[in-house]
């Protein structure tokens, strides 16, 4: 498949996929046994008030009509108003997206910077003590419940040792928002104190989030390196007397990294799912924590907004990964 048709194919399916997601969540929101109008109007509302709310939100119309109205609104960029923050959901999402992006990016960086070199080392020194130790670590990293791991980190580094903050994203006043990424904003503002605070708040959640991703990266990179080392092309180069270091550091590494890049979409999925939990434990003001809170409060407009946002992000990331892959592998995306 060539490049353009791949992008086109993704984009063609983009809208139906998001519509499908909306339909699922919308159906959920309407089979809920509690009348959403009751929730929205508040506990002490009278019957008339509830009725008013019902009409205002369109809860009195037939379901398909409600759905169509909702889709029409979404198409115009109107996701509705959160019943609890009383803010347009677009605003809620916009203020929270950067926090999640910042956390996820840092976690990807950690996972890649630690996972790739370790994976290469394990692949090159297969069955060495390092390989065995890391196998235990990676298998464990994929088996640990992230909320529990987060709590243990909090217990040790915040409560016992007092080295790092327990939760949140910043102490004191945040820097002037430019990008929404606190670390970057602090750098722009030249505010050393804010930068230190942002980094200190970042460490525990980012490490928790990065753990399963790093474990995945190590495994893929290791197996990639081993696969390539045993490949006919390396056998050929060895037979032709290419120096070992050229074979490894030029040819094998490039092949193994290409294989790892194809897994970026999967790794991003791990991170996004992880963010939902990690943000909740660390009170990180991002999309994941917002989603959990909205779900627990039956704030369905917010849930639908979040779902749509995540779905779009997912499709977008996968598209990027495919394009990246097409760019680094001359054989093109499979």
């Amino acid at each position: 498949m060539n490049w353009l048709s791949m992008v086109a194919n993704r984009l063609i399916w983009f809208v139906p996929t998001l519509l499908g997601l909306l339909a699922i969540v919308f159906t959920l929101s309407r089979v809920v046994p509690i009348d959403p109008a009751f929730l929205a109007a508040g506990e002490n509302a009278s019957v008339e008030q509830v009725q008013k709310v019902r009409e205002r939100f369109g809860f009195d119309k037939p379901l398909p009509v409600q759905f169509l109205n909702y889709v029409r609104d979404v198409a115009q960029g109107n996701f509705g108003v959160s019943m609890f923050t009383q803010q347009p959901i677009v605003n809620d999402l916009a203020t929270r997206l950067p926090a999640t992006l910042e956390l996820t990016l840092v976690a990807v960086l950690i996972a890649a910077l630690i996972g790739i070199p370790l994976g290469v080392l394990c692949g090159l020194h297969r069955n060495s003590w390092l390989d065995h130790v890391l196998r235990v670590v990676t298998v464990s990293g994929l088996a640990v419940a992230s909320f529990w791991f987060a709590m243990q980190l909090q217990f040790l580094f915040s409560m016992k040792l007092g080295w790092l903050p327990l939760s949140g994203r910043m102490e004191g006043f945040p820097p002037e928002p430019v990008t929404g990424l606190m670390v970057v904003d602090a750098l722009i503002a030249g505010d050393g104190e804010a930068l230190a605070s942002a980094l200190r708040h970042m460490i525990l959640p980012a490490v928790t989030l990065a753990l399963p991703a790093a474990a995945t990266v190590v495994r893929f990179t290791r197996n990639g390196v081993i696969g390539v080392i045993n490949s006919p092309s390396v056998a050929y180069q060895t037979a032709m007397g290419f120096p070992r270091r050229v074979i490894i550091w030029k040819y094998v590494l490039r092949m193994a990294l290409t294989a790892t890049v194809t897994q970026l979409g999967l790794i991003f999925g791990i991170l996004l799912a992880g963010a939902v939990v990690v943000e909740t434990v660390f009170d990180w003001p991002g999309l994941g924590a917002y989603a959990v809170r909205s779900i627990l409060q039956s704030d369905y407009n917010a849930v639908m907004g979040f779902t749509l946002c995540t779905g779009a992000l997912f499709v977008f990331i996968n598209l990027l990964v495919d394009m990246l892959q097409a760019a680094i592998d001359p054989r093109g995306a499979a």
């Binding site: 092309s233 050929y236 060895t238 037979a239 092949m255 001359p330």
Partner: protein
Amino acid sequence: MSALLDISKLSLAFRTEKGPARVLDMIDLAVKPGEIVGLVGESGCGKTTLARAILGTLPEGLTEIGSGHIRLDGVDMLRGGKAAESIRGRVVTFVPQDPFASFNPLFRIGTQIADLMRWKAPRPEGRRWGGHRRADEDAAIAMLDAVQLPQPRAILAKYPHELSGGQRQRVMIAMALLPQPQLIIADEPTTALDVTVQAQILGLLRRLAVERGVSVLFTTHDLGAAWEICDRVVVMYAGQTAEIAPREAFFANPRHPYTRMLLDSLPEPGRDPVGIPGGVPSPLTPPGGCRFNPRCPRVTEICRETRPALAEHEGGHLVACHHPVTADAEALYV
């Protein structure tokens, strides 16, 4: 003339889960400068293993050398290490069986050739490093031209998957010639190719080798191919040398019962091919004595007990058999 490659009494086993696989058993073989030798044997008889042993690229730690030596240009290739690495790509080069998998798919042909030349092309004294890029490129283009690839400069810029199998094998032959070696080992170089291009590639290999005075050790399971390009033929059966003879004598007057049956199994006008009943024994449980004995019509007690030594008959015709076929004993066993 003394031999360029000298293999004597080579026995070798691989360690496997099920015990040692005794793949080579007292192999004798010599290649003189400028000579083209065909190593003929059924699939699984140890041709590739022998090629890897000559190149010094057997899997370390898995290989047990039982006896014998391999000397290539005076260097002991069984020792491996730096000495063997400096021989590879300089004294001996390699043409692989599978030109599809033997290139690294992520690098241009030109890059892979340039790396070979950077490390392995002969350099005039004192000009080891730098300043060779242009000269290397010119040499590469001239060589691609010599292997009859149209538009050599364009080929350098291509990726392996953009070439056909035949084109790739031509590039492989060019790469084998570029370091100006004394010996080329071509391991079934045409097996993976279309029948129509096989003969062209073989002819090309022979012509270029003869022009440049390079020796070739050419392995094949195809007697017809050996007939086309070899000066001398060596027949292997299940890791043992069966017969060595100059081409004419070999085809006119085969002495070993196995060779005899192989030739009879070739389809020929006016005669039905005669298959050889039974199969090649596993190297895990090779028969004692002559390994051909379970399938041999001339077998006697001694064949099961003692390995027949390679004995010279007339004019460099060597046979390892207790009861060789004599010239006039045409139909003794049929």
